[in-house]
């Protein structure tokens, strides 16, 4: 049993390696892995005593592929190769040491197991995203619960369980069956059976294993639903709590799968066979069969990786883009986003997105008229965004022909078929096997704050996270959705661009005006993986379907990831297809070579060590294949260069974010327990809020200011959402950097907002170099930034902020013009005053450095959201407009380096006679 414990614990560890349902928790993953290793040590100790390691140096061959994997693989996938590495080295140096032998054998076994399981996550998520529902299970459970005498129903594929409060309906999903951990267990079990010498027992054991897991998965639900019902009994009358987390919380899933340990141990005992598959390097004489296995396995995996990850670079087109406005009354592009237009529609507006594209492509807008074939023939990419009117049959035919002839179609839909967007888009996208679903998709734990991170959460600066990432997303650091719909596909030819996990969806509410459902936990809500962006090729052309149009509204379009994805999508579409045959050829090659591998190993039945070598070679080849594809995509699909100048203001988060404090393990464990066993701890209570690490980055106290990067801003008195967004009104764009040194290599103006992290010498040097070559840098600070490090930077340029705040009116320096008031601001010493107090003390100053300029502005607290009208979609009062004008003047001066002109213009706008008493005070000091 202890050996099966090792197998199952190792398999369960994968649930914590990815953001499958909740964010990955490497600590838990490693804990389970270590437990698996311990179990293996105990379970395999007698094997360690008997195994033959005479020619143990042969094991070191395994280091080659392992090194490749460890170099290339994403962090979540390094567990297996790391253990295998430990195993190889331990056995190679073990000699007669039983400790080293046991350790080596155990780590080699668990490592090989984990390495073998590497692809399962990708496969199960792919399967469930496309085929979420599992057949028959609902009907079986209905019969079982009817047998129990429970008040249940079954219709429309849903099992209904009557409770006093409501009928809980369950549509049975693969996710309900815990398909991912079960698939891992199945693979591990099959591997164990494979290592057995007796060939006939492999088939029998795999059949047993499959049957056992199948039956168990249903029996598990047979108990889990009653547990859910019992938990629901404890929910207080007025609380809207539905304990759906019982079905997806990883620990709960893990606990409910632990009984498989004794069950499999009983049904599939493998103690007698253990010694047979023990490492035996003596037999490593590399006959043809072994060579064949290694080569076939490696090449097969390489082919599989390329078959899945290769993206045809195609032939780049001229970049003529047509955006259809004629069928859309939503997210318009024809009203300029200026300093004079405010209100709801100014935010839900695509003007900035369209303008931005014009910097890179020749973009036309189809304001009226049909999309005819003749018209489309003049363009390379067609953008359909949230249409509200349906396309005629002729237009549909023209668009289909356009794509087949090499055009690129970019369809932007929206959740819940809002304003009929899905109804309008689906007739054209369905021609390519794609359909926008009438639903809305949420993060399982954070609801509206879904963040997709291409390549997984742990980014690595050395190894590009482009591995396995679609070229459209290869330059996207992270992508925060604003509630999308999911996209259904009916062909494996359609490939995911954004496939997210840890999501759930609600169907639309036909009773609501915008079909938006009341967002609440429901048992019939589907959870798991979803395709939120997909692409396909058809003839010479390409199609991309994207399910969340809101993110390109003016108020969201220029946060990190958004412009990159937009340009990536248009760039991918701006190609005709040329090497599309590569993928199917590689996949066919994979199947052929895999068959060769199976046949060869069927004859040989290799021991654990040689199996580990084959697996390592295969995995190494697969990662190498992925890396190759990623590099090819990086070369082929680099973001386009601007054909017209772009002004981007970069906001620095690097120096506003202190490292988060370490959570004590006790607190972490307690919080985790309360989160994941809420139904058990106190079911009647509201579920504790789940606070993932991403939220901590953005919302917790270490940040001196907030932007809605990973979720909503949490502290309105520290939020600069409006300040950030208003930059767009000036025709500039915005960006955020988490690495100031990297941003300093660019020429874009930079805003250092409330810095609280000390500047290193290298950074200070980089800043000086940046300024000297013409860069423009603004340091915005306030008294609320108690740990400010602004003066450390400013002192380099003989400038500084006062320690104590002041308040009152803000005047344009050198002019007798009052702009607005500020309840708190910092005076500035040094530089040339730009704004000053009534007493003439500068609150903003500028100083030229080389060809550039540095601006010190003590008005940061003037620009927090609560003092900017609280909502970016509100129409401002005159006093708030004055603050906006202040910001506009600052930003124009920063970008155009002409504060003199800006101040004069501003003074002309606010012609109020109240000259500062001592305008030179700041300069004199």
């Amino acid at each position: 049993m202890i050996r099966w414990a090792a197998v199952i614990l190792a398999s369960l560890s994968w649930m914590f390696a990815f953001h499958q349902h909740i964010e990955e928790v490497p600590f838990r993953q490693w804990t389970l892995v270590m437990l698996a290793v311990l179990c293996s040590i105990v379970g395999l100790r007698h094997v360690a005593a008997t195994m033959d390691t005479t020619k143990r140096h042969r094991l070191l061959w395994g280091l080659v592929p392992l090194a490749v994997i460890l170099l290339l693989a994403l962090p979540a996938y390094r567990t297996g190769p790391t253990l295998l590495l430990v195993g190889v080295v331990s056995l190679a140096v073990a000699g007669g040491s039983m400790v080293m032998r046991s350790l080596g054998l155990a780590t080699m076994f668990v490592g090989a197991l984990l390495l073998l399981q590497s692809a399962t996550y990708w496969m199960t998520m792919g399967w469930t995203a496309r085929n979420p529902n599992v057949p028959y299970v609902g009907a079986i459970l209905y019969q079982l619960f009817s047998w129990l005498g429970a008040d249940v129903s079954y219709s429309g594929g849903r099992l209904g369980v009557r409770m006093m409060r409501s009928v809980h309906e369950f549509p049975f999903l693969w996710e309900h069956l815990a398909i991912f951990p079960l698939a891992q267990i199945w693979l591990a079990g099959a591997f164990v059976a494979w290592l057995s010498r007796a060939k006939q027992s492999f088939v029998v054991n795999v059949a047993k294993l499959t049957a056992t897991l199948g039956v168990y998965s249903i029996l598990r639900l047979f108990v889990l639903i009653p547990i859910f019902i019992t938990a629901m009994l404890f929910v207080k009358h007025d609380d809207d709590i539905v304990h759906v987390e019982i079905f997806w919380m990883p620990w709960i899933t893990a606990l409910t799968l632990l009984p498989l340990i004794p069950i499999l141990a009983r049904l599939m005992p493998w103690s007698a066979e253990t010694t047979e598959w023990a490492p035996n390097t003596q037999a490593w004489n590399f006959p043809k069969l072994r060579t064949t296995m290694v080569i076939a396995g490696s090449v097969a995996c390489f082919c599989a990786a390329v078959g899945v990850n290769y993206w045809d670079p195609g032939a780049r087109k001229a970049g003529r883009v047509l955006l259809d406005e004629a069928h859309s009354r939503w997210e318009r592009t024809d009203n300029p986003y200026t300093t004079d237009w405010y209100g709801h529609e100014s935010g839900y507006n695509y003007y900035c997105m369209a303008e931005y594209l014009k910097h890179f492509y020749d973009l036309d807008v189809n304001m009226d008229g049909e999309l005819t074939a003749d018209r489309l023939a003049n363009y390379d990419v067609l953008i359909l965004k949230t249409p509200t009117d349906q396309y005629s049959d002729e237009e549909l035919a023209a668009m289909e022909e356009f794509v087949h002839n090499g055009g690129g179609l970019f369809a932007l839909g929206e959740h819940t078929n809002v304003f009929g967007s899905s109804v309008a888009l689906n007739p054209i996208t369905r021609k390519f096997g794609i359909a926008f679903q009438y639903n809305s998709v949420f993060d399982l734990t954070r609801k509206w704050e879904q963040v997709h991170i291409p390549g997984g959460n742990k980014r690595n600066k050395i190894i590009p996270t482009r591995l396995g990432v679609h070229p459209i997303m290869q330059d996207v650091p992270f992508y925060k959705f604003a509630v999308s719909c999911s996209i259904a596909t009916d062909s494996w030819k359609i490939r995911p661009v954004i496939r997210s996990t840890g999501l759930w969806s609600l169907p639309i509410d036909y009773a609501a005006g915008n079909f938006y459902p009341h967002v609440e936990d429901l048992t019939y809500a589907r959870f798991g993986a979803y395709d939120q962006t997909v692409c396909t090729t058809a003839g010479e052309g390409r199609v991309v379907a994207f399910g969340d149009s809101t993110v390109y509204s003016n108020f969201l379009a220029f946060y990190p990831g958004k412009p990159e994805m937009l340009l990536g999508a248009v760039e991918w579409l701006n190609r005709t297809n040329s090497l599309g045959f590569v993928n199917p050829v590689m996949l066919v090659a994979f199947f052929v070579l895999f068959a060769v591998l199976i046949l060869a190993s069927w004859r040989l039945r290799p021991d654990l060590s040689f199996s580990g070598l084959v697996i390592a070679c295969g995995a190494g080849a697969a990662w190498f294949g992925m890396w190759t594809c990623a590099e090819l995509s990086a070369q082929s699909y680099a973001l386009p260069k601007a054909i017209r100048p772009v002004h981007t203001v970069v906001f620095d988060m690097d120096h506003s974010t202190k490292p988060a404090p370490e959570e004590s393990w006790m607190d972490a464990a307690t919080n985790a327990f309360e989160r994941e066993f809420a139904f058990f701890v106190d079911s009647g209570k509201k579920k504790p809020a789940i606070s993932p690490a991403l939220r901590k980055k953005n919302a917790n106290w270490p940040n001196s200011y907030e932007l809605p990067l990973f979720g909503f801003t949490q502290r309105y008195d520290a939020s600069y959402e409006i300040f950030y967004q208003w930059v767009l009104r000036l025709g500039y764009y915005t960006d955020v950097t988490f690495d100031l040194d990297e941003a300093l290599q660019r020429d874009d103006p930079i805003v250092l907002l409330k810095p609280q992290v000390p500047f290193g010498k290298e950074t200070l040097d980089n800043i000086r170099a940046f300024l000297t070559r013409g860069g423009s840098l603004m340091v915005l600070d306030a008294a609320s930034n108690e740990d400010s490090t602004a003066s450390q930077l400013l002192s380099e340029y003989d400038m500084s902020f006062a320690e104590q705040p002041t308040s009152g009116a803000i005047f344009v320096a050198d002019e007798n013009v009052r702009v607005c008031d500020s309840p708190t601001m910092l005076t500035v010493a040094g530089g040339t005053p730009v704004f000053a107090t009534q007493g003439g003390q500068a609150v903003t100053s500028v100083k030229e450095v080389g060809q550039g300029q540095i601006v010190a502005c003590g008005l940061a607290d003037r620009f927090i959201d609560t003092r900017m009208g609280s909502s970016s979609r509100a129409v401002p009062t005159p006093s708030i407009r004055a603050v906006f004008e202040l910001e506009f003047a600052l930003m124009r001066g920063l970008v155009e380096k002409n504060f003199d002109t800006q101040m004069k213009d501003l003074a002309n706008t606010f012609m109020v006679a109240a000259k500062p008493a001592n305008k030179n005070a700041a300069t004199d000091s």
Binding site: S155, S166, V223, L267, P507
Partner: protein, 831 residues
């Protein structure tokens, strides 16, 4: 592996016995089934025996059957046992015992030795017998209460009632643990077994004592929690919730059991006595009749309807008008929860039962002279001595009294005011406690024990079918019968000084001097020639709730007017106990002789126990209510809440049907007799499809003039498809959302919540008649069927509370629409 197998077996029985704390009861069976299966799987292939009953390697056990026949017999027994596990809680343990016996037969295949499952089978059979007695024998029930009181009285402050009931005392689990060890130890005569058995028994006793101590110590007074309670204390208190305590006891007791079997598994003992086939089989012949006769003795026949004092023997009832209540029915002047009135529907229901009578203003000779059943609820004033004597005499002479009270009921603050409810039932063994019987789960869901009786035989507690909420608990003594017992709750003692916020109610939390578990909520007793039923809470009898509890309330009245007894005669009770316990003795004896007395006895118990309940159920079926009855279908899991006044509840349907002159009832069963006696059948988005036979019943109903009203939208139509298709109708996918449109030719404007077109299949013959439409799509249609009709509204939620009648008031356009619908459409089809 044996450890896990035994653990699963132990927990399987614990769940089957519902001894694990609240784990919603039919769902207890799910856990039991899975755990039992696991116990078998984990054992599979295990060859080592735990006990050698019949021999050892040196003295092989004689083979009773050829080895090849063992697996088939074992398999059959296992499957049969497993199939019986989801049966009624009083007999399901015999299914578990059969399962163990079947597993044991598998084991013998290898060695001829019995396994630990033999001990489990015997112990479970005995435990099951105790459980059967607890649920069917009044003497045993009182005995269990007494034992719990004595055991837990040692640790609880104040003895007597301030103790744990059997549910929380954990006595069942402890007894089961002892039984397992005892049986395992006495079957083979071997000293080492007995040594281990003694050790295990001591461990069980220690664990049980610890359980009681911990349970008592950590039931912190609720008031302490609100003041200076430390966080960890609160956490501990929450963790050691009474509903979890017995589960923890089960876990703790599992350890010595599993270790015990582990310890003795390697022992091989020689048979101390040879097998005696002839004696063994004779035991079977004795045991089976004992079991069957024993079970039969507990069956309480429902009795016949006895002749009443009315013309032609019609039962006459008297509803005593005075009391803290009213006799209103819903009217069209008021809407919302407060408009329902209290007991106004009782006369309607009794009339619908074919009874005569009415309200009486006073309790005197004249008013009771020609009555058979007297109803008194929540008296405001003390009864005079004459009145008390009159009531006592009325009952003694054969009349029946239904006495309803409520929690913490008293006459002002005067001394003795808390006894006012007891005045009318002084001559019974029942009295009201001055307390509030609180549940842990709102509405006593999954928390009730029903006595096998004509009044309760059909009831479940998943959706509060008896209507008991927070009322007074009852103090009963033999021979009073506890018809309904609240298992998972506590008796919150009343306070004697009234407070503005809570009246005489205390803190609504269990305190140390308050009883935990097993409060009697409804009791019955034969007194003289008459009968008394006492109900601690009036809720189930009030208009709004009675729509869902009428099966219980009607049965109570029915039984009061019958010749049925509260329980069986004492001699039968005692004789039944003797017979069953004697049968258990034979089982132990027979097992030692390797005779199949356990499975035979279990089968006998299962069949006779099941038969006894079926007999009671069949013979306790009341006469259908007749008249202007409107049934609201609850039997097809309609997509709405059953809790009153939730947004998606259908409370408004019931009340507005009453306002339109119907007697509205929720139909938990699809009973054709009741259907044919009704005028209207309303079904709201059923998620359980109607079967062919049910559709035939509905067809007969409509052909005879009945009306079926179905409200269902496209999203929920799957469950209604069979019914719709039968009459050539369908709900089409063409979302119309929330909308309103006038009924043609009227000013009635129904507010649809989420409406879809109802379309006709012309292949049926003709299009259904359109009653209302929206944007030219029919939304309400009528299909004539014989003398009746099927009316379909394409909106599941149109009559949900939030769109019809809320707790505070009404959505008047829809109330007006309903009024129009009833009078212009629904009643057109009625006879």
């Amino acid at each position: 592996m044996r450890f896990w197998s035994i653990s699963c077996a132990w927990f399987g029985v614990a769940f089957a016995a519902e001894a694990m704390g609240l784990f919603a009861h039919e769902l207890n069976a799910a856990a039991a089934v899975v755990l039992l299966i696991l116990s078998g799987i984990l054992w599979t292939g295990q060859t080592a025996s735990v006990q050698t009953v019949g021999g050892s390697e040196s003295h092989p056990a004689p083979k009773q059957q050829s080895p090849s026949s063992f697996p088939i017999i074992g398999l059959i027994i296992c499957i049969a046992g497993l199939l019986m596990v989801p049966s009624h809680w009083t007999i399901r343990l015999f299914g578990a015992a059969l399962w163990f016996w079947g597993l044991d037969i598998f084991a013998r295949r290898h060695t001829g030795h019995a396994t630990h499952f033999a001990a489990f089978a015997v112990a479970t059979t005995i435990f099951g017998t105790f459980q059967y007695l607890y649920g069917n024998s009044l003497t045993s029930w009182y005995f269990s209460q007494g034992v719990s009181n004595v055991l837990t009285g040692f640790v609880r402050e104040g003895s007597g009632v301030n103790t744990f009931g059997p549910t929380f005392s954990g006595i069942g689990l402890a007894a089961y643990a002892f039984l397992i060890v005892l049986v395992a130890s006495i079957l083979p005569s071997h000293r080492k077994f007995n040594q281990w058995g003694a050790i295990a028994a001591v461990a069980i006793a220690v664990i049980y004592a610890l359980y009681l101590g911990v349970f008592d110590k950590y039931q912190i007074d609720a008031e302490l929690l609100t003041a200076d309670t430390l966080t960890w204390q609160e956490s501990v208190w929450k963790f050691l919730h009474p509903l979890r305590m017995t589960g923890m006891l089960a876990i703790a007791l599992c350890v010595p059991i599993a270790i015990y079997f582990r310890a003795i598994s390697k022992l091989r003992v020689e048979s101390s006595r040879p097998k005696d086939d002839s004696r063994g089989f004779s035991l079977v012949w004795f045991a089976v009749p004992m079991v069957v006769v024993g079970v039969v003795l507990f069956v309480n026949t429902p009795g016949e309807h006895r002749a009443g004092k009315g013309i032609a023997g019609v039962t006459r009832y008297a509803l005593y008008k005075e009391g803290f209540h009213n006799w209103m029915t819903p009217n069209k002047q008021r809407y919302g929860s407060r408009s329902a009135g209290m007991f106004g529907n009782l006369p309607l229901m009794l009339d619908a039962m074919g009874w005569e009578g009415g309200l009486i203003d006073s309790l005197d000779d004249v008013s009771l002279a020609d009555r058979d059943v007297l109803f008194i609820a929540n008296p405001k004033d003390h009864l005079s001595g004459e009145q008390i004597a009159l009531i006592e005499n009325f009952v003694e002479e054969g009349g029946s009294l239904l006495m309803l009270g409520d929690h913490t009921w008293r006459k002002d603050d005067e001394p003795g005011g808390d006894k006012i409810l007891d005045e009318a039932i002084q001559n019974t063994s029942i009295s009201f406690n001055f307390d509030s019987a609180y549940y842990y789960i709102g509405g006593w869901l999954h928390s009730l024990q029903y006595w096998p009786h004509a009044t309760t035989v059909h009831l479940g507690d998943a959706t509060n079918e008896s209507g008991c909420v927070v009322g007074a608990s009852l103090d009963i003594k033999y021979p009073a019968t506890p018809l309904i017992v609240g298992r998972y709750g506590y008796a919150d003692k009343g306070v004697h000084v009234k407070t503005p916020q809570r009246g005489y109610m205390d803190n609504a939390a269990p305190d140390k001097d308050e009883r935990l578990g097993d409060m009697v909520l409804v009791a019955a007793e034969n007194v003289g020639k008459g009968k008394v039923v006492v109900v601690g809470d009036t809720s189930g009898f009030v208009n709004a709730i009675q729509t869902q509890t009428w099966r219980f309330t009607a049965r109570v009245f029915d039984w009061l007017a019958s010749t049925g007894q509260a329980t069986v005669a004492r001699w039968r009770d005692v004789l039944g106990i003797i017979l069953l316990l004697s049968a258990m003795g034979l089982i132990v004896r027979g097992t030692r002789n390797q005779t199949p007395v356990v499975p035979v006895a279990c089968v006998a118990m299962l069949i006779s126990g099941w038969g006894a309940r079926e007999y009671l159920a069949d013979n306790a079926k009341p006469t259908p209510l007749t008249g202007e009855v409107a049934l609201v279908d609850l039997s097809h899991v309609g997509l709405h809440s059953m809790e009153a006044w939730r947004d998606d509840a259908i409370s408004g349907i019931y009340l507005n049907l009453m306002r339109e002159g119907y007697f509205s009832l929720g139909a938990r069963d699809f009973d054709e007799d009741q259907l044919l006696a009704s005028k209207l059948f309303v079904t709201i988005a059923p998620s359980k499809p109607y079967s062919e036979s049910e559709i035939e019943s509905l067809d007969r109903f409509m052909n005879r003039g009945g009306t079926v009203l179905l409200t269902v939208g496209w999203e929920e139509k799957a469950g209604a498809t069979t019914l719709l298709q039968r009459y050539g109708l369908d709900v089409a996918y063409k979302p119309q959302g929330r909308a309103t449109n006038a009924i043609p030719g009227t000013t009635i404007m129904p507010n649809y919540w989420e409406v879809w077109p109802v379309v006709s299949d012309l292949a049926y013959g003709q299009a259904a008649e359109t009653i209302a439409s929206l944007r030219e799509d029919p939304t309400i249609v009528r299909r004539p069927v014989g003398a009746g009709q099927l009316v379909v509204i394409g909106d599941t939620k149109i009559f949900h509370c939030r769109n019809f009648e809320t707790e505070e008031g009404a959505i008047m356009p829809n109330v007006q629409f309903f009024n129009w619908l009833v009078n212009n459409v629904l009643k057109q089809g009625a006879i």
